[in-house]
Symmetry: C2
Subunit: 326 residues, 2 copies
DNA sequence: CTGAAAGCGCTTACAG
DNA sequence: CTGAAAGCGCTTACAG
C-alpha cells in the first residue's frame, strides 16, 4: 500500500496525498476528505523509510547504554524519554552490554541515518574507533565523559562526590575504607577513584584497598566485597560506586556473619529506588538521574538543530543521603 | 557521501560498488580493491534507509515493553537480544510505559517498515486499535497473551503457577492469603487471579482479598500491602504477582512492626535477581525468563521468514523456589 | 490550490 | 565480470 494507490483511489495526485499527510493547509477541503477516506478505507500506513530518506530527518534518537538492567541507567533513560517526547522525538534503546560488536552494530543506526542523533552512557575510551564511526553526527554523553572535550556531556562532579563520601566516612571514625569500583575504562570510574585516593591521602589513612566489579550487578558487588573481606586486614567501611554493587556488598558482609553498619559501613552511589528497598537502607550519593537525562536531550537537540553549536559540559548537583547502612 | 561518489572515486559503476558492499563474489579482485580503498579513504557509511527501502528488509526487530526497569522484563529482553544476535538481527527497545500514545508511536516503526517484526510484552487488551495497527505484520507476544488465538505467544501457565503458590501457602497453615495483583488489562494478571481464587474456593478458605498495584514497582507493592494491612482482618500471607511488588510488600510489613514470615509470609513471582538481594530472601515462582525471550525470537523469525506459518502458543516450565520469606 | 517531475541512496534483474 | 536503468515510496520546488 503506497501513496500512489491512495492517489489513484482518491482521484488526485501523489503530491496532494502527501500534502494531506503532512497537514499542509493548501489542500481544498473536498480533496482532503477524499484522500482521508481513501486512507481510512485501505488502512494505509506511510513508509517511514521513504519519508526519512527523502527528508533526511527521522525525529528519532538512539540511546546506547551498557546495561539497562541497572536501575540508575533506567532512571536516566526515563528522563531522556520524557524530554524527547516533549520535543516530538522518539527514542530507540540499544543495550550494548559493553560489547564492541554490539556497540558497532548499534551505531550503524546513526551512520545509516536511521536516527538523528545519539546519547551514550557507555564508556568509549575502550573503543576509540567508535568515536570515529560517530564522526561529527550529533552526539552527547550522559553520566560519562570523553577524555577530550570534543563531545558534549552531562553528569555530576564525580571527584567531589567521591571525596565527600570518603571524608564523611572518615569523620565518622572509619579507619579502613575500601572502594568497590567499576571498570576503569569508564571515565567516571577513574574520577571517583581519584576522589577516593585523594582523601585517603590527605587524611593520612593508612589502609587503602580497591576491588573492581566486572559489571554493575549485585552479584559482581557481592564477589568484590567477598574479596575485600577475605583480605588480611578487613575494611570497616565500603564505598561502592553504584547502589547495585552496594546491595551485593551488604549481602556478602551479612553472609560473613558481620553487621552493617556496626562492623562494616556501606555507602552506595546513584540514589536509585533500590537504596530504600534493601535492608539496611542504603546511604548513597543521589544523582539527579531524570534531570541528567533531560539535559542530555536538550544538548542533543540543540546540536541537531544547529550542528555548529559548541560542545558543552554540564555538571549537575548531587547530595549525600544518609540512611541506616553507614 | 553516497555510493555514487565512491563509484566515481574508484572509477567503477554504482552497481559494482554495491556488489562489493554486499560481498558479491563476482567482482574482479582489482576492482574490489579500488572500491575498498575509496570507501576507506572517504569514510563512507551506507545509508540504511535507502538499503532497507530497496530490499524491504531491515534485520531489526522491535521489542515493546511497558517497563524496562522491571527486572523480569530486563531478563526476558536479555534472552531476546541473545537469540536475535545469533540470527543476525538487531533489536530496538521501545519503553511504552503502558502509555497508549507512546505505544502507537512505537508501532509506527513497524507499520513504517523500519523493523521486520515486533515482540510485545505489553497488555494489548487495553488498546485493541493497536492490534489493528500491527495488522498482519510479524508479531509475537511474550509473557503475555491475547484473548484470541490470532497471535503467537510464549509464557508459562499462569493459572497453574498461581494455584500452586496458594496451595503451598495453605498447606503451610496460612489461613488468610491475600493477592497483590497487577492491572487486570494484563491477561496474565487475570489468569493468576483466577488461579488464586480457584484455590481459595476449593480449599474453602473464608478470607479473600485482592489489591491492585498501579505499576510493577516496589513503591506500588508497598502501597498495596499497606492497604491490606490496614484492613480489619489482616492477611497472614501475601502473594504478589511480581518480585518487585513483593519487595515493596516486605518493606510495608516490616514498617508496620510485623515479621516476615512469622506474621505475614510473602511469595513473589518471576524469579529475578532481586529475590536473592532482599532480606529476607524471597520465595518466588521462577519463570525461565531468558528462554521465554529466546523462544519469542524463534517464533518471530519463523513468522518473518514464512508469513503464512501458523500461530503458536508455547508454554514453558516454571517452579516454586522456597526461600526465607514464606 | 494542484500536478508532473526530479531526486533521496540504494539494489538488482537484464543485457552485454 | 560489469554497467545502464528501473524502481523502492516518499517530499518538494516549480510551473500553472
Amino acid at each position: 500500500m503506497s501513496i500512489q494507490k491512495i492517489a489513484r483511489l482518491a482521484g488526485v495526485s501523489v503530491a496532494t496525498v502527501s500534502r494531506v499527510l503532512n497537514n499542509s493547509d493548501t489542500v481544498k477541503a473536498k480533496n482532503r476528505e477524499r484522500v482521508l477516506a481513501a486512507i481510512a478505507e485501505s488502512n494505509y500506513q506511510p513508509n517511514l523509510l521513504a519519508r526519512q530518506l527523502r527528508t533526511a530527518r527521522s525525529y528519532m534518537i538512539l540511546v546506547m547504554v551498557s546495561n539497562i538492567a541497572n536501575p540508575f541507567c533506567a532512571a536516566v533513560v526515563k528522563g531522556i524519554e520524557e524530554e524527547a517526547e516533549k520535543n516530538g522525538y522518539r527514542i530507540l534503546l540499544c543495550n550494548s552490554g559493553s560489547d564492541i560488536e554490539r556497540s558497532r552494530s548499534g551505531l550503524t543506526l546513526l551512520s545509516g541515518k536511521i536516527v538523528d542523533g545519539i546519547i551514550t552512557m557507555d564508556a568509549f575510551s575502550k573503543l576509540p574507533e567508535l568515536a570515529t564511526l560517530i564522526g561529527d553526527a550529533p552526539w552527547v554523553q550522559c553520566a560519562e565523559y570523553a577524555d577530550s572535550g570534543a563531545v558534549s556531556c552531562v553528569g555530576i562532579n564525580d571527584v567531589d562526590a567521591a571525596q565527600h563520601v570518603v571524608s564523611w566516612l572518615a569523620d565518622k571514625g572509619r579507619q579502613r575504607i575500601a572502594l568497590i569500583n567499576h571498570d576503569l575504562h569508564y571515565k567516571y570510574a577513574r574520577l571517583r577513584e581519584r576522589g577516593y585516593k585523594s582523601v585517603i591521602h590527605t587524611r593520612e589513612l593508612v589502609y587503602q584497598s580497591v576491588e573492581y566489579a566486572s559489571e554493575l550487578s549485585a552479584a559482581a558487588g557481592k564477589a568484590a566485597a567477598e574479596r575485600l573481606l577475605a583480605a588480611e586486614t578487613r575494611p570497616d567501611a565500603i564505598f561502592a560506586v553504584s547502589d547495585t554493587l552496594a546491595a551485593g556488598a551488604i549481602r556478602a558482609i551479612e553472609q560473613a556473619g558481620l553487621r552493617v553498619p556496626e562492623d562494616v559501613a556501606v555507602v552506595g552511589f546513584d540514589g536509585t529506588d533500590l537504596a530504600e528497598m534493601i535492608t539496611p537502607q542504603l546511604t548513597t550519593i543521589e544523582q539527579p538521574s531524570h534531570e541528567i537525562g533531560r539535559k542530555a536531550v536538550g544538548l542533543l537537540l540543540t546540536k541537531i538543530d544547529n550542528p555548529d553549536s559548541s560542545t558543552e559540559r554540564v555538571m549537575m548537583a548531587w547530595q549525600l543521603t544518609p540512611r541506616a547502612s553507614a
